[in-house]
Amino acid sequence: MNKVMSNKWIIALYVLPALLLIAVLIFIPLILTGYYGLMDWNGIATMEFIGLENYINAIQDAKFWESALHSFLLALFSTLSLLVYLAISLILASKIKGSDLLRKIYLIPMLLSSVAIAQLWIKVFNPSNGMLNSILMALGVDNPPAWLAEPSIVLYAIFIPILWQYAGFYILIYYAALKNIPEPLVEAARIDGATPLQIAYKIKLPLIMSVFKVTIVLAIVGSLKYFDLIYVMTGGGPNGASEVMASYMYKLAFSSNEFGYGSAIGFLLLIITLIVTVIVRKATATKEEIQY
C-alpha cells in the first residue's frame, strides 16, 4: 500500500474525481456568479458588461443591508440558542430516565423536510385558526397578534421554527461529544467532591470546547445563508420585514429578472460569510488544545 501512496501520480489520480466534482459543482459556479455580477443581465437575453456597477449599487442598497441585518440577527439568536442545546445535552448525557427517548424526540424535526416544517408552522401561526392563537385566546388574551403579518414580529416568529428545526442536530453533536469524555475523569472529580454543576462546568465543558467552537461556526454560517423556511412561510414579506440575504438574492434574480444584480448580491453574501467565518475562527482560537 505504501508503495502505491508514494507514487504522486496515483495520488493525483485518486483525488481527481472528487476534485473534478467539487470544481464543476461548486468552484466554477462560484466564479461564474462573481462574473455574472459584473453584467447587466435579465437572465434570458444577452448580457452586457457594466463593470462594478452592480456591486456598488448593492453596497448602497438599503434593502440589502436590512436583509443583512436580519441574517445577522438570526446568526446571533442561533448562537445564543447553542447554550440552551448544550444545557439540554448535558442533562441528556447524564444518566437520567428516558434520555434515549428524549434524544430521539429532539431529533424528529431534523428528519422533516424544511417545506414540511414551514407548512406545519404556517398552520400553528395562523391568526384565526392557528394552534398558537387558539391557546392564547383560551388563556384570555383578547387580541393575539397575527404572527406572520406584523412587520415588527414576523422575523422573530420565523426564528422559532428555524431554531426548533436545528435543535436536534446540535444536541446530537453535543451528546456524542459528551459521551466521548472518559468516565474515569468524571469519576475522579466526583470522588474529589465536585458537584454535578462543577463537573459540567469545569470538566465536561472544557473537554468539548473544540466541538462547541465548530458548532458556533456552523450556526453562524448556516444562519447567514439561511433561506428555506423564510421563503416558504412569508417570501420575505410583509414588504421585506422578514427578508434575509439569500431570499433577497433569490427575489432579485428570479422575480425581478435582475440576474446580474442578484448574482452580485450572491457574491457579496459569500464574501460576508467568509469574513465572518474568519473572524469567528480567530476570536475562538486558543493556543493550546486540552488533552485528556
Partner: protein
Amino acid sequence: MLKRKAFAGVFVIFLSVLVMVGCSSDEEANSSSGGDKTIEFMHLWPEGSSAQHNKIVSDIIKDFESEHDGVTIDLEVLSNEQYKDKLKVLSTSNELPDVGMTWAAGFLEPYVDGEMFTPLDDLLEGDLNDSFVSGTAEAYEIDGSTYGLPLELNIATVFYNKAIFDQYGLEAPATYEELQQVVKTLNENDVAPIALGNKDRWTGSLWYMYLADRIGGAEVLTNAINRSGSFEDPALVEAADKVQELVDMDSFVKGFNGLSDEEAKSMFMNEQAAMYLIATWDLPNYTTNEDVPQEFRDSVGYFPFPTVEGEGDMNSFVGGPGVGLFVAEDSEVKEEAKEFASFFVQEWGEKSVTEAGVIPATKVDAGSLDLPDMYVDVLDDLNEATNITLFADVQMSADVAQVHLDMIQSLFGTEISPEDFAKEHEEALSAE
C-alpha cells in the same frame, strides 16, 4: 500485486466513464434518426392541485399522438412557481421545451427580447383565424408579432356566501358605500367580511386595481404604467386611500398580510369569511367541482365590483388571459410543435368548458352546451364587458412589478401613506 489492483481500479473508472459517454450519445442518435419525432412539452397543472386541467391535457396529448403517427409528446409537469424558475434556467442554457406555457406582456417580454420564442402569426392567420376572443391574443403581441396562444380568459369578481348574507339580511352591494355597510354589519356579528391572502400580494393588487378603475376610469392605471400618464394622478392616490379605509374598518380577515391566497380561499370555502375577490379560474370550485360540498356550491353567488361614490362602470373588469402556449425559436421540430400548439388550443377550447368549467380564450358557443348558471352569467358579463384591464403585475416589467407588489403589501399593512405609495410607483416607473 498492489500495483495491479490500483490499475484495475483506474480501469473500472475509465470503463464507467466510457459507458456513460456511450449512453448519452446513444440517446441523441435515437431522437434524430428514424422517422420518429419527439415534442417536448412542459405545463404547470399537476394532478394534485389541478386534477381536471391535468386530465384534459393528457387527453389532448393522447388524441394528438393517435392522429399523428411517429410523433410523441415528452411531457414534464411542474407547479406554478417551480415552473417559472425552471423555464428561466432552461432559457439561460438554451434548452427550452419545444412547446410550453407563458404569461402575457411583462413576463413574455424578456423571452421575446432574447429571441427565445417564435412568432405564431401564421397560425393566427391560418388555422386559428378569428377563434380567439378579442383582446386575448393581443396581450401576447410584442412589436406587431404574437408570441403566445392564450388558453384562458379570466375576470375578477367578488364571490360571496349567500347563506351568510341572508342570515343577516344583506344584499349584494352595488356601491362602495353599501359595501362598507355590509362590512359593518358582518363585523358586528363577528363574521369575517372579506377573505384576502395578501402574502401573495397580487390578491391585494386586485382590490387596488378595481378601486382605481372605479374612481379614475378604465384608462388611468394603464396610462400610468405605459407612461402616458402619471402614477401620482389624484384618482390613483384616492384609490390607495380607499384601500386603507377598508383596512381600517377591519374589512379583511385577520393577519391577511401573512396569509397565502390558498389559506384565504379555504377560509371562504369553510364559510369563515363572507366575501372573496378572485378571478374566474376559481369558478369550478363554486359550480362543478365534486370535491366541494354541493350545499356550499349552491350558496355561492358573485357580484361585479361596486361603484365608488356613484362613479365607475360596473362592466369594466380587471382580468385578462392567464397562461398561453409558446413555441421555442430553437426547436428542432418547430413545424410539429406549432401544429401541436394549434391542436392544443382548439381542443382546449372545447374541453375546458365542459370538463373543467373554466373560460377559455377561444370563443365559446354557450347556447349549444349544458352549462352551470353561474358560468353562463359570467360569460354574459364577459360579452358585455366594456373594458378588461390586464392584471397590473402582468402589465409591468418584472422589477417594477416587484415594487408594486411590495408597495401593495405595505399599503394594506398601513405602513405607508397613499401619497408615498403613489410616489414610490412613480419613481420605479420613471426609472425604467
